[in-house]
Amino acid sequence: MKKLLAFGQHRPDTEALSALLDARLDAARSATLDAHAATCDACRARFAELRAVRDSLRAMPAAETPRSFRLRAADVERARPVAAPGGFARALPLMSAAAVAAFIVLIGAGVYANSGGSSSSRNSLTAYTGQQAKTEAQSAAASAADSAGKRIASTPAANESDLGGAEAPTTTQGAAAPAPSGSGASAPTAPPPTAPTTAAYSDSAAPSGGTHDNAGLWWYAAAAAGIVAAATAGAALYARRKRDGL
């Protein structure tokens, strides 16, 4: 109750006085505070002012509703899509978690492929990752995948496959990225000029198959962008549901 100040005065404990106003202090505390306020002008005055605030709020009239808020069938039809909990909405957090896990696996695969994995295993990882990047980016976040795809390779075929959905993704990927079978040297794709650092790292890390690995790295970047977009969207929706207490 008594918070001592420099000149022997004390600052009234607003929280205790406010609780006293609502009769929400235990009996002992309440008696102590009452006894103190009897001899303390500052606390008495503060208590009276807090009571005036409360009284002014209590005096605010309860308004009638301007109309009935009963729902009509038409409102309900609009509301239907989310009416049933579960399904997609309930799976969102799980999807987010899966996306994050996939992201971690892909990063791990990328690190492995660029730091000592055998040539053949590197090739198969590249093929796997490229395909997965395509699928996940398309299904989870079309726009993010689209922009990522444009960054990966500027060949028209690659962009078309980003927009075009499922038709012959493997073939198109073959044009954008090195062929999975290891014919990377015969189908070189120049890394985009916007990523000199990654290209340099890739070249120095794997001098024998530099071009091939560069493209692989870009596929990892595409996959990462798509997965992060999916995870972010899922987390945002989940946070909103949680905030609504639903």
Binding site: A19, E49, L50, L57, A62, F69, R70, G245
Partner: protein
Amino acid sequence: MPDEAALVRGARDGSLDAFNALVDLHQRPAYNLCLRMLGSSAAAEDAAQDAFLSAFRHIGSFKGANFRPWLMRIAANACLDELRRRGRRPAVSLDAPVPGSDDPPDAPDTAAGPEALALRREQRDAVQAALLLLPPDQRMAVVMCDVQGFAYEEIAEAMRTSVGTVKSRIARGREKMRRELGPRLEQIKGEHRQ
């Protein structure tokens, strides 16, 4: 008085009639919370409508025993959405609410003359304006406690927090209003003494 638990069960089974019976029971406190949170009857009407739609959409996930705090929480969230929308608007807005101007008219009071009524109206506007200066969490706690007369426990349930936090929010809200209202409090004290 209809059995609220039965109405909730009916609404969860998809009965619009059951849900609308719940609307009848709770629309006035929900609307009044929105009115005091937003200070404008038009905005409060929209927020209350959004809240009931949202409540209907999510009634399946209501697992608690008390419907009212759950609904009040949804109404408060609808108000927060409205406040966020307002925050994105330009600072000077033609449709900005005038505090208190949407209050219902005073009940006919033969004892009070026009001057007294005008004074009361002015005070009420000042109180509503001071309320709108509080952060939303304190505003919600103060409105539910002092304007609507909810118990601390129910406010805590609606705000998904502890009774201690509610107590603290109410105290801080009242204290801010005390400083904001300043000299007007003397008037108010005098009026309530009469």
